[in-house]
């Protein structure tokens, strides 16, 4: 897949970073805080639709991919499942940014601090191998790095989970950690 197409895919997926802050507005949450709805339920109610919409928004991209004759050698189902795991990290980052932002503008600005390092460290613009050793190590923390490897692996090489399991596991670990941290921060901010 060409670098600019990969870049477009990254930007599309990274919109998740700013989608959640829009919904976590005080006026939306405040009336619910006095109902028996728990903070975990509130958190999941906010995150689940974003996750579903994120996965569904892959399909228009697949049409564009078809138009440009990019082959899909591997399993679409595996790609969707691993996309959902990647979105866990993106949504968790979105929740973290939202939790510390007072306005939408602040959230948008803060999201750039998360979005661009993730993009540059993912290897989509510059190969990871060409980066200094320190940045190469740092790129291991970017879930987008693993997602890029997975995307290229499934689309172009027809790779399955037996090949991509280490990337999937690393992405899942980062996603779960970020998700738990964002839940903790969300709970604290709400309370």
């Amino acid at each position: 897949m060409k670098a600019h197409r990969r870049g477009a895919l990254i930007v599309k997926e990274s919109r998740e970073l700013i989608r959640v802050p829009v919904t976590i507005a005080l006026a939306v949450i405040m009336p619910l805080l006095v109902t028996p709805i728990s903070t975990l339920e509130l958190f999941l109610a906010k995150v689940t639709p974003t996750l579903i919409m994120g996965v569904l928004s892959i399909f228009p991209s697949l049409v564009i991919v078809r138009v440009f004759d990019v082959p899909l050698q591997g399993s679409l189902l595996l790609f969707l499942v691993l996309t959902a795991i990647f979105l866990l990290s993106a949504i968790a980052l979105g929740v973290l940014i939202a939790a510390y932002s007072r306005t939408l503008q602040q959230a948008l600005l803060l999201s750039f601090f998360g979005l661009f390092p993730l993009m540059f460290l993912s290897g989509s613009l510059t190969p990871v191998e060409a980066m200094p050793a320190f940045l190469q190590s740092l790129s291991l923390l970017s879930p987008l790095r693993y997602y890029m490897d997975i995307t290229v692996g499934i689309f172009l090489k027809g790779a399955g989970l037996s090949v991509l399991w280490d990337e999937a596991l690393a992405m899942l670990a980062i996603g779960v950690i970020l998700f738990l941290v964002s839940l903790w921060v969300f709970r604290r901010r709400v309370q």
Binding site: M30, P31, V34, T35, P36, I37, S38, Q191
Partner: protein, 256 residues
């Protein structure tokens, strides 16, 4: 076995950073009472009510509402209380019906139980005709009654009303207080914050607050008596006398 006192606070205090918003205070409210928390803006009324609801953490002391600890804002507490704030109580982009159904579901009511609860709340609050438009397009008075209806759906034991009559015309305010009186008569305990001193006349007991301090609390007649005022003294006179007394006490404590 008798049910626990609806509201009991002992040494309840709260500060944000170095700013003491509520100095440690004791409050006790009996079943079916209407208690008015009266004070100027910034007196700590809203923080006190939110601390009792579990929306704001308590730094010092403790509070129990309907027998449940207010600390941490547990689900058990939320099932026992209703909360209405003039600012955040409704979803303005939903219709009134959608708001009612949404809050009924949020309180765990579904199907026939939700319909019965909505019918009851509409009847109690006088919401007979609900216009088919967005809540944000309703008049302040109608929105106020709708917010009250939403907070009553689960028939709470204790109802907290935070500045419920702000920006509402006098007639609507009178009607609103009539509903509150009926709710209290049915055994519901109501705690109201207001900066309209004349509205305090609708309450059984008053809590007078200034700069985070509870100056005095009790029935209007007992407060008038303790402050050496005439039995028919207005709430404004009562409040002013309480401030003056607190100022004198402070001066004595500080010395010459």
């Amino acid at each position: 076995m008798s049910s626990p006192e609806p509201i009991v606070a002992k040494g309840l205090g709260r500060q944000f950073g170095d700013n003491v918003v509520i100095e440690p205070l004791d409050v006790s409210v009996d079943r079916g009472q209407r208690v008015g928390i009266v004070g100027a803006d910034g007196a700590g009324k809203t923080t006190l009510i939110r601390a009792l609801c579990g929306l704001v953490a308590i730094d010092e002391g403790s509070a129990r509402v309907a027998g449940v600890s207010s600390g941490g804002g547990s689900t058990a507490l939320r099932r026992q209380i209703g909360y209405m704030s003039q600012r955040f109580s409704l979803y303005l982009e939903l219709t009134p019906w959608e708001n009612l159904r949404f809050f009924a579901n949020a309180y765990g009511l579904a199907g026939g139980a939700a319909r019965a609860a909505i019918d009851w709340a509409r009847e109690v609050t006088g919401l007979t005709d609900i216009p088919d438009k967005l809540t944000g397009d309703l008049s302040s008075a109608l929105r106020q009654r709708l917010a009250l209806a939403c907070s009553l759906l689960h028939r709470p034991r204790v109802l907290f009303l935070d500045e419920p009559t702000s920006g509402v015309d006098p007639v609507a305010r009178y009607r609103f207080w009539r509903v509150i009186r009926e709710l209290a008569a049915s055994g519901m305990t109501v705690l109201v914050t207001t900066h309209y001193l004349e509205e305090a006349a609708y309450c059984d007991r008053l809590a007078l607050m200034l700069d985070g301090r509870l100056l005095a609390h009790g029935s209007r007649s007992s407060l008038n008596h303790s402050l050496g005022l005439e039995a028919d003294a207005t709430v404004e006179t009562l409040f002013t006398a309480a401030i003056e007394q607190a100022g004198t006490a402070n001066s004595r404590a500080l010395g010459p």
